[in-house]
């Protein structure tokens, strides 16, 4: 039960100020989600041959430099790109999947928030405005971003339980709603080798997408599979390296608004998150139809 925002820049000026707009949109959704907040930002692709991880440590004294040295020792080169509050972005000269596995097995005390070449995920408990401040969201630039504010329903308010959830390399998911068959689906996915860190229903949806993609489905096919395999209420937004996708369940009780101008495409649970964007008054606006997968990608827009 939450608020969702998404922003896709169509102009270089907007890319420069993506974080400013994202923070403003997120603040508008704080009543829908006072418990925790998170964003996925797509920017600064890692150089060819290397990958990007966002890591989280619960330990405020975490020495990210030491970790980078260890990674460099294993993979040849690694360095710390940036540190924001409890999160660090690390570039590693390795395949993202391998780097992620290495961190998971050698540093179980850390969490891999995202892995890929462009994605960075930041999320933390607390009010969205405080989160935006702590993580200096307004500094961020990028091509596109998703954000989420969470009103926890049945699982704990933790950093891990915050959205976005990573669903694979450069992929993430945010959700507004409540799934009703996630426990059964989690057991099925666990048998398929998908790992879960929380009791959260959204993490199951994320795991489901990761599983379908692993089995060869396209993103659209995986999302369409949700219509058959996920029960309950949802508005999903999925971040990809090139854009984002939106899907509402067939009953479509949870709100979603889409808007587009020459400079951006935006998605939000409520219009007032879009109202803070430049030119919002003149934007073309519509609501996604139930049970229809919408995809915006760089090439398309």
């Amino acid at each position: 039960m939450c608020g969702i925002v998404g922003l896709f820049a169509k102009s270089p000026e907007l890319e420069q100020r993506l974080g400013v707009h994202l923070a403003a949109m997120l603040a508008q959704m704080s009543n829908r989600g006072p418990d925790s907040a998170g964003v996925a930002v797509y920017h600064d692709p890692a150089p060819p041959g290397s990958s990007k991880l966002t890591l989280y440590s619960a330990d405020p004294a975490q020495q990210w430099g030491d970790l980078c040295a260890e990674l460099a020792g294993t993979f040849g080169a690694a360095h710390e790109k940036s540190v924001r509050a409890s999160h660090a972005v690390v570039l590693v000269d390795a395949d993202a999947g391998e780097a992620e596995s290495w961190v998971r097995s050698h540093h179980p005390e850390l969490r891999v928030m995202s892995a890929g070449t462009v994605i960075e995920i930041y999320k933390e408990v607390g009010r969205p405005e405080v989160f935006a401040e702590q993580f200096r969201l307004t500094d961020l630039q990028g091509t596109h971003a998703l954000g989420h504010t969470r009103m926890a329903t049945e699982s704990r308010v933790t950093t891990e339980g915050s959205h976005p959830f990573s669903t694979g390399l450069d992929l993430c998911l945010v959700h507004n709603g409540s799934l009703s068959n996630h426990n059964t689906l989690r057991r099925k996915l666990q048998r398929e080798g998908i790992e879960f860190q929380t009791e959260n229903d959204t993490e199951v949806a994320a795991g489901y997408l990761a599983w379908r993609l692993r089995e060869g489905a396209s993103l659209e096919q995986a999302l369409e599979g949700c219509l058959d395999d996920l029960d309950g209420f949802y508005t999903f937004a999925v971040g990809t390296a090139d854009g984002f996708a939106v899907l509402r369940d067939p009953i479509a009780c949870k709100p979603a608004v889409l808007a587009e101008t020459d400079d951006w495409v935006a998605m939000a649970s409520e219009y007032h998150a879009i109202a803070v964007l430049p030119g919002a008054d003149e934007a073309r606006m519509w609501e996604p139809e139930p049970g229809v997968v919408y995809v915006w990608e760089k090439a398309v827009v």
Binding site: C2, G3, N31, T153, E154, S155, S178, F233, K254
Partner: protein, 469 residues
């Protein structure tokens, strides 16, 4: 459905050597299968759950003796007042007693019956509540304090009545049928009921299970905001839920901005619901209450957001135990109807004519109530005297209050709200675990003694035991 009456089995009820009744397929089960096969529709009835459930009966008070000192009855004060809606509303509800009348619709009940409830509540200084059918002038006129329900159906909902109300109750669910909609069968849709609900006369009315314009706590927060704007932030806003995932529901209702939370346990009554719903959905009041209190405490809002509990309150003992476990007030529904004359032996002859008996009558959906309470039939309703009925309910409310005070004084309390969980012990292991009080004779609640981790399912916590009160 008509109950199986004593001595009315197909064999005349006489036990004969060699006849053995199945525990699994007992006479009631067999009768129900036969009825289902005959009628092709689920059994719809009134009243609450009839199965045995862990309840307040399984708790006892530790009266004062040497370690604690009791208060003298009659002479030393034991206050009972309670204020509901102190969080955001500029005009909270001031009640003289911590017992309110739960929402029951005009439609389910006759107009005189609704009037009687208003008279009784006003006489003793408490509130009564509308129901799924709007507010009648009789009810408003006779109720000094009236809570106006906002239900999924929105029957009879209008801003004039909203502004006339003393509080607003957003009904998400009720104990008899959490997750279910309402139902009023054709025989109770009289001209007046039909007009109030904008429905054709005589049809089966189906009420929705979700509100038409919001779903989930994030949208509820906006809905509550609208209600506050419409009423200029004056009126307390209650949120009523049927007891199921109570810990989460209470936390979310609080996050959505409720002033008061009403938790209706599965014993809560209904005018017309599928039997399968009444008996198989929800959790007992006894365990819902501690979950609600835990949710409020963890938010630091216990007593600031008031908690009203209903579902199976019958006596001052039930009231006192609910307050001791952390409720600010209780609501009664079924018991108030019984106090008015429902299931009275005075009507035994007529109960027999419709295939039931005093003490078993639960066909409140059918509108043929001999006592004139759960009916829209003019002749039947006219039998019921709202003045006398109101007097009886007021008497009953006074008895509940006196009993509550008696128990509170025995525990040394000068206000009934000073009762606390530590004043209680449990008679059974179930009750000890559910109510989180010690088994009689033990020092700590069983839940602690056994170091049981209720956390993962109860509190969403995996790595620490549930917080103790």
């Amino acid at each position: 459905m008509a109950a199986t009456l004593p001595g009315e089995s197909s064999r005349g009820g006489e036990w004969q050597p060699g006849l053995r009744e199945s525990a699994l397929f007992d006479r009631n089960v067999i009768a129900e299968i036969q009825r289902a096969a005959r009628e092709g529709i689920y059994d719809i009835r009134g009243f609450g759950a009839k199965r045995r459930l862990p309840h307040f009966d399984d708790l006892l008070f530790l009266g004062a003796s040497v370690s604690r000192y009791p208060l003298e009855g009659y002479r030393e004060r034991c206050d009972t007042n309670v204020t509901l809606g102190t969080r955001f509303a500029s005009k909270p509800l001031e009640l003289k007693i911590p017992i309110t009348i739960a929402g029951m619709s005009f439609g389910a009940l006759s107009a005189p019956a609704k009037e009687a409830l208003g008279r009784a509540a006003t006489e003793v200084g408490t509130s009564t509540t509308t129901g799924d059918g709007g507010m009648t002038p009789e009810e408003r006129g006779h109720s000094k304090l009236l809570v106006y329900q906002l239900l999924p159906s929105r029957y009879g909902m209008n801003p004039d009545d909203l502004r006339k109300a003393d509080a607003i109750e957003v009904v998400v669910g009720q104990g008899a049928k959490p997750g279910g909609g309402g139902m009023l069968l054709g025989h109770k849709i009289s001209d007046r009921v039909a007009a109030m609900r904008d429905l054709p006369k005589g049809i089966d009315q189906r009420s929705a299970c979700r509100h038409p314009d919001w779903t989930g706590p994030d949208d509820l927060e906006i809905k509550i905001g609208e209600l506050r704007e419409i009423t200029d932030w004056e009126k307390p806003i209650f949120v009523k839920v049927g007891a199921t995932r109570t810990y989460y529901d209470v936390q979310l209702a609080v996050k959505a901005g409720a002033d008061v939370i009403v938790v209706d346990g599965m014993q809560g009554g209904t005018a017309a619901t599928q039997d399968v719903f009444i008996e198989h959905v929800g959790i007992p009041t006894l365990c819902a209450l501690p979950l609600a209190v835990q949710a409020l405490q963890e938010l630091g809002l216990h007593r600031e957001v008031q908690l009203v509990v209903s579902g199976g309150i019958r006596s001052g003992a039930d009231v006192a135990k609910a307050l001791a476990l952390g409720a600010d007030a209780v609501s009664i529904g079924t018991a108030a109807l019984i106090a008015m004359g429902d299931n009275s032996p005075d009507y035994e002859t007529e109960y027999r004519k419709i295939g039931t008996s005093a003490g078993f009558y639960d066909d409140w959906q059918a509108g043929r109530d001999p006592a004139g309470i759960s009916t829209q039939d003019d002749e039947l309703a006219s039998r019921f005297d709202p003045v006398l009925g109101g007097r009886k309910v007021a008497n009953y409310l006074r008895v509940l209050t006196l009993e509550t005070q008696t128990l509170a004084r025995a525990c040394g309390k000068s206000h009934v709200h000073n009762l606390e969980p530590e004043d209680l012990v449990a008679l059974t292991i179930e009750a000890s675990l559910m109510a989180r009080v010690p088994l009689a004779g033990m020092q700590l609640p069983l839940i602690d003694e056994l170091a049981v981790r209720v956390a993962p399912r109860v509190a969403g916590e995996r790595d620490r035991p549930a917080a103790r009160r």
